[in-house]
Subunit: 666 residues, 2 copies
């Protein structure tokens, strides 16, 4: 009665003694000797299998349930700004629910380096910061074993768990087989299994029409069988243009005993020239019936794209209908539109993805048990992951226990995946070529909330603390946010209170079906010290309903947090589960966030202006003198009182008595 | 900026570096360098200071806040049934909120032994099973150092943290001081501090009129000063009859430099003879004004008790009004009425105690972080504590993490604190001298729920699984429970669903003020295998709304629990805190509970009847053939569907179709 759950064998030794009287194992009746996976661990996250399974197991489950999947192939970018764009493409395309993505290996581009454009870094970023199950390509041709092992070790260290083992193209014409070297992908597969045992899931390439260099199609099939026998877990094929090409190939593979999943490589034709180039590189022939359609419209890009989508959809439909194809692999060429359109038409694109938690989960194996984060980084999750990347464990899925959290240094604004997607010119257009006074800054915040154009005719699409548009749930608070930003409550984070909405709610829902989600109202903003003085006066009336943390750049910290305990502000109740509380207002990490939040004024905004310019001095003044405030309304079943708190603050500031008092003190 | 919180120094090293720019410490402004107590620990219990502080610290806080307290002194019982009664008295008197209780040391009664009547066992039970802060008396006269150290080590091992250090009465007339032995309480205090450093909080005795054997009152005061200087933390005085006696004593103590708390020993006169005996033992003189009142009414017990209460109340009022008395210590003589009445009149008795958690918290230091329990032991918390007493730690306040919980052996029904308070005869009267059939058992359960008398004229005050009357919240379900018990759904545990009631709710509330508590509806019962067959059929309609575990005595287990994860069924949301989820339905511990729940049929009920008697065979049959079922309705915001589930089950059993099917199968 040892039950293997999620790839682990866990045996309840004690239970074995007492509960074994009955061994009945009829369907629906689980024998009592079965041990609970994490039976004695309470208040743990719901570890959805998708979060913990290995790629091979995810495929197995999908094949068993008959759920078709898709995967997406990308190549590393050439420039740093290309990397920034690719990473945000990962976020966008990740939302459609690929089973995995893969990143190609370019031997000439220093693929294993720490460069922001390297294959290794791009794949690592996809895993760690975008939460995508990722496969890193690796070619072995002309490489020493030491070099390959070093690459694999680095990949493992970075949290990569899957390798696409390839031979790669020999460099130069004079390539000959080396004795004991890597001459074929099979050698690489063997090496990976030899050096890393079962750690990596391994993918190998299949050629539906035979490898161009293979002696024969049959010979190539035998090579493929060798690769699989050496320890590969699944096959992705080279692109092809006819469904029957692939289906015959699968049939032939099965005939010689290849049993692993075989994923067809799909290439939606996106342009005449890219097709020509690809065909040349891959030594494929484009079927006559396709050339006949394309040639006449070769100068009409839109028409070709439209045809490419239609052609891919129809081929995919045939493939999926065959019952031989569990998932589709897309050669995206780093583009979004065509692939997404094909997936939409196939019904494979997740239009309204269910969120397992309110924040995007990292795919690094070390973080799989992580289930709580401070709310402060809600709009900067990559920064949070970066700054906590050295945490060795997340006991009970949480942060280090009795010791204080050791956040990474505040250098994240140098990292490509945290750079603003907008160039300096665009930021100046949004945030003001020239600022007149603090009120100009209030206007920028207000315009970001309202979506209105500023006087120079530009929409404010981002702020230093929010590189994206307002979250849907923040939109619920739009009117109130606009009102307070106009008066100098410069909001950078907020959430409405939620009193038991279904977990399926399209805006605030998350977690398994049949549950209920809750939130306490939260508001975080910068504001002047005058406002803070009045606010503190007002907050006395709201004890203990409202918790606050107020801090300036020097670290002067004012709070009413009970013994500096964290305050849970997002939680969910689910059928048959423990409570999940993924978001907290944590007093300690707020002090680390404070450093980052204030630094963003400087790093992203001040630096737009010339030294000594009035604009620069205005932002610098705000950085030096404003306070960062966060407020939680603990009374989640009632309407949020936080707007009333702000109104009371302004009322106090406007009241003659307050003015009198100030007058008499001066 | 090292901040000592709750007696521990915790320094946030990392924070020290970054946050020290401001050192302002003006009131209301906590310097940011302050470290959070458990800042990085999420989903932890609210450790109320009362749960974690040492006794000396609790006193300090109460003195600072001006909250008067009371404490209660008991002596160990002579018989096992006396012990059972005393333990339930601890539970009742504990509900009034004593700051601590203390248990006297009887050198002639094997006080350090494992006997159920020993001082050591009684004090240990008070701490571990009744959750009472307890002080164990210890006398040193005629004892070797080794023996004393052994007692102290045992006390420490059992979770006792406080010692009342006494000399004790020398046995025999020929006592002489021993060199290097324990001649005075001071020697014992020194020994405790020498051998156990600061581990124990130490109390010593004060004599407001001087110790009877002391050379003089002043000499005795000097002795007391020595005891305090040797390391005692507070003083409890011998009883006295006039407030001024105590107040003068305190003044004299303060004059010679005794600064620790001095608690007056209060003795409400409860009878003429007990007063005479006590006075003789303690060599005290009863003041003339008291004797004049008492002598004339010495045969009227009620009148003397009434006078004793009135006299004690008036004296206590003077003491408390003096400002010199932070708390009152009561010599209860193991009786409840007089002491409780005095405390009620003084307004010190907690009429409606706030529960920190829905279950009674053990006072063992090891368990102070415990904050979740399986619901199964809700009516048998002492059994749960007993069976988990060997658990070394409660990581994050929870059960051992990845390993399975190791429950103690099922021997608890031999333990005195788990024995039924009712003797065999009373149990027979309640549960039936003679059972006719299973229906007779249904009637016993039904009568327990309704409180009606059974045919022989007795009320069913307890069941093997419930030694007390129905809990107030179970009363909310009374009508439904009655209905189903009548038909053979033999309920032993249940709770209603609660969707956000205030934490101050008198029936279901718990935890800090200003919070909201929640529950999922829960029902646990024994029922026949025929019923279970129909129930399983019905439950299909209630997926995934209802979770169930169904098990028979052999351990055949049927469940739809998701990967055997625990299901949180009680939780609370509080201002500025993390979520607390103190009660879960845990699949693994259910299998341990099952053993206990089935064993109680045998241990408590079967054994009432003669071998081979029909009554015995009926209970034995139920034990052997019935199933134990628990049901959770996950949809806590809606009315519980569990009664409908049961109704559907009976409807299915009653339907002709079901009968037909059964017929066709046979």
């Amino acid at each position: 009665n040892h039950v293997s759950t999620m790839g682990r064998n866990m045996v309840n030794q004690r239970a074995d003694v007492g509960w074994q009287s009955s061994k009945s194992d009829s369907s629906g009746v689980s024998n009592s000797g079965e041990s609970s996976k994490e039976s004695s661990r309470c208040s743990t996250p719901v570890l959805d299998a998708d979060r913990t399974d290995r790629l091979r197991d995810k495929m197995k489950r999908r094949i068993e349930s008959g759920d078709h999947w898709f995967s997406l192939e990308f190549f590393p970018p050439r420039t740093a700004s290309g990397a920034v764009n690719l990473i945000s493409r990962f976020d966008r395309m990740g939302s459609g629910g690929p089973l995995f993505i893969d990143v190609t290996w370019h031997p000439s581009g220093d693929p294993g380096s720490d460069k922001e454009t390297s294959s290794m870094m791009i794949a690592s970023t996809a895993v760690n910061y975008c939460g995508l199950e990722s496969v890193l390509h690796l070619t072995c041709c002309n490489q020493t074993k030491e070099k390959i092992t070093a690459h694999l070790n680095k990949a493992k260290r970075l949290g990569l768990k899957n390798i696409m083992a390839l031979r790669g193209d020999p460099i130069g014409e004079d390539w000959v087989e080396e004795d004991g070297g890597f001459n074929y992908a099979t050698d690489l597969v063997k090496h990976i299994r030899c050096e890393f045992d079962d750690y990596f899931d391994i993918c190998v390439a299949g050629y539906p029409t035979g490898h161009p260099e293979a002696e024969s199609y049959d010979n190539d099939l035998r090579h493929l069988k060798e690769k699989v026998d050496a320890g590969a877990h699944f096959i992705v094929t080279q692109l092809f243009f006819r469904a029957e090409t692939f289906l015959r190939f699968v049939k032939d593979c099965r005939a010689i005993g290849i049993t692993c999943p075989i994923l067809p490589g799909i290439f939606p034709i996106q342009g005449y020239h890219s097709l020509r180039q690809l065909v040349k590189l891959s030594k494929l022939e484009v079927p006559e019936e396709i050339m006949q359609v394309i040639e006449p419209i070769k100068d009409n890009d839109a028409a070709i794209r439209s045809y490419g989508i239609q052609q891919a959809v129809e081929m995919c439909k045939v493939l999926l209908a065959s019952g031989e194809v569990p998932g589709l692999h897309f050669y995206t060429l780093n583009r979004e539109v065509a692939t997404i359109e094909v997936l939409r038409q196939l019904g494979l694109w997740a239009e309204d993805p269910r969120r397992p938690l309110p924040w995007a989960v990292s795919a690094h194996p070390k973080r799989k048990v992580e289930d709580v984060r401070p709310i402060f980084w809600a709009s900067r999750p990559k920064s949070y992951i970066y700054r906590t990347q050295d945490w060795d464990d997340f006991p009970n899925g949480r942060w280090g226990n009795s010791s204080s959290p050791a956040f990474g240094e505040l250098t994240d604004y140098y990292l490509f995946y945290l750079k603003s997607k907008s160039p300096k010119e665009a930021l100046l257009q949004m945030w003001g070529e020239e600022l007149m006074n603090e009120g100009s800054v209030y206007e920028v915040f207000t315009n970001y909330i309202t979506g209105q154009t500023n006087p120079s005719g530009h929409k404010v699409m981002c702020l230093p603390w929010n590189d994206d548009a307002l979250a849907p749930e923040t939109n619920l608070l739009k009117d109130e946010l606009e009102k307070v930003n106009r008066r100098g409550i410069l909001t950078i984070n907020s959430q409405p209170n939620i009193n038991g909405k279904p977990s399926s709610d399209p805006i605030v829902g998350w977690g398994p079906a049949g549950g209920y989600v809750f939130q306490k109202a939260y508001l975080e903003f910068f504001t002047s010290s005058e406002n803070v003085t009045a606010l503190l006066q007002v907050l006395k009336k709201y004890e203990p309903r409202v918790n606050y943390h107020i801090v300036n750049v020097q670290g002067k910290n004012i709070t009413n947090a009970h013994e500096m305990q964290p305050n849970a502000v997002t939680w969910g109740i689910f059928p048959g589960r423990e409570i999940i509380q993924p978001t907290v207002v944590d007093p300690v990490s707020f002090m680390y966030w404070k450093d980052e939040a204030f630094a963003l004024w400087i790093e992203q905004w001040v630096k737009l202006y010339e030294d000594e310019s009035p604009s620069r001095m205005i932002i610098q003044y705000i950085h030096d003198n404003y306070f960062l405030v966060n407020l939680v309304d603990n009374d989640f079943p009632l309407d949020s009182c936080l707007w009333q708190v702000i109104e009371d603050m302004f009322a106090l500031l406007d009241s003659p008595r307050a003015t009198q008092e100030e007058g008499s003190q001066s």
